[in-house]
């Protein structure tokens, strides 16, 4: 499978470059350079570096942190009979922000996944509330292509939300790159499960 896929991906990449390079009606070199420059500036960064979260040696501080995050999630869950009004939404957002502000104990790699989960819910609430830029500003640094992200469902979901936020802010390159990275992440996760 890998050889087939490598072949297709390589071929696709080469043909993708051809999109930039095979316009036989391009004018001066400066014009071509300008076009290429503009396209490079808007090219999505689809790099995906991942790392496995290896369960750490459990500590009391670690358990307290995880339980605190679980309590934050429970607080952010809207009760079935609660109206989805602005006040309730603001309370949920405030709870999730408190969760992200919790100090992370040392030696707890699982916290990375937990923080991504909190950030994803917070970003979702902001996007629903029309604050896509805020959601993008929150998730983009956590999921920067230059950084390694946990090989976990939470990363894949966060990337989808980042794509949603970028779509709304008009950052097509970030949106496409994020969706593409999430698809690739899920492909890796599925292969591990199968």
């Amino acid at each position: 499978m890998s050889s087939n896929c490598t072949y297709v991906a390589t071929l696709a990449a080469l043909l993708g470059l051809a999109v930039v390079g095979c316009d036989d009606n391009a004018g001066s070199q400066a014009e071509v350079a300008g076009v290429v420059e503009a396209e490079e500036a808007s090219t999505p960064d689809a790099r995906l570096q991942t790392h496995e979260i290896v369960p750490s040696t459990p500590t009391a501080d670690g358990l307290a942190y995880i339980r605190a995050v679980a309590a934050i999630h429970a607080e952010a869950d809207a009760p079935a009979d609660a109206p989805a009004d602005a006040e309730g939404s603001a309370q949920r957002v405030a709870a999730l922000q408190r969760g992200l502000a919790l100090p992370v104990p040392e030696g707890l790699p699982e916290a990375e996944i937990l923080r991504l989960g909190l950030a994803t819910r917070l970003a979702s609430a902001w996007i629903e509330g029309g604050e896509a830029q805020r959601a993008q500003d929150l998730l983009a640094p956590m999921l920067a292509p230059s950084r390694s992200v946990p090989l976990d469902r939470s990363s894949a979901e966060a990337l989808v939300l980042l794509g949603d936020a970028a779509t709304r802010t008009g950052d097509d390159a970030l949106a496409a790159g994020s969706y593409g990275r999430s698809i690739r992440m899920m492909s890796i996760l599925r292969q591990e499960l199968e």
Binding site: A18, N25, A38, S42, H73, L159, A175, I183, L189, R190
Partner: protein, 203 residues
């Protein structure tokens, strides 16, 4: 055979001849008449909304690659149909924004790039597509930078979004793990169990 049928038969024969010539030019083997990818390419070309200069052989070849790539459940016929639907939409939008004199030289590479990009994404890989500049990078209409053509449309982003969400749902079905609050609570329970075991370990 009726008159219209005869005419259609002639048109089909001419089309088949054109396809054979395109394939020969690409160095590809002649196609069998029951080739599904060929049928798809022909149907795309037969669509009145499609570009008249659509490269059937290229589309056929790419469709063949898409079928040849080992796929999982997310690579269903429906998923592939979405990809091709996007290509159709892209073709329509390109038709309205490109002059006929430049259409063949400019739209074919872009169409080809879009086809390949989406096929690669459907295969679970990330291709670096050429995207439209964000609004902030637009300059005056006469500047060279402004001539960079938009290469990813809202429809294509919608396809990517749909694929990503479908992948998430498929992953959840496969893993069977809890989500959201339930997942964090399960993690806390498991962590507490491990802590208890660890503290009970001598030394």
């Amino acid at each position: 055979m009726s008159g219209p049928d005869r005419e259609r038969g002639k048109a089909d024969a001419a089309e088949a001849e054109r396809i054979a010539q395109e394939l020969a030019a690409l160095g590809e083997e002649p196609l069998a008449e029951d080739d599904e990818a060929l049928a798809f390419a022909q149907s795309l070309a037969a669509d009145p909304a499609a570009r008249p200069d659509i490269d059937i052989a290229t589309v056929q070849t790419l469709a063949g690659w898409a079928d040849a790539v080992p796929s999982d459940e997310s690579l269903s016929e429906l998923a592939q149909a979405r990809v091709w639907r996007t290509i159709e939409l892209r073709t329509k939008s390109a038709e309205g924004s490109t002059t006929p004199a430049r259409s063949r030289s400019r739209t074919r590479p872009v169409l080809l790039g879009a086809v390949v990009a989406l096929v690669a994404v459907a295969a679970g890989f990330v291709l670096v597509p050429v995207l439209s500049p964000p609004p902030t990078s637009q300059t005056s209409p006469t500047s060279p930078v402004a001539k960079a053509e938009p290469a990813v449309t809202a429809e294509e982003l919608d396809v990517l979004s749909t694929q990503a969400r479908a992948g998430l749902a498929a992953l959840d079905r496969l893993s069977g793990e809890p989500r959201g609050t339930a997942r964090v609570e399960a993690l806390a329970t498991d962590y507490a169990r491990r802590l208890e075991a660890h503290e009970g370990t001598p030394g």
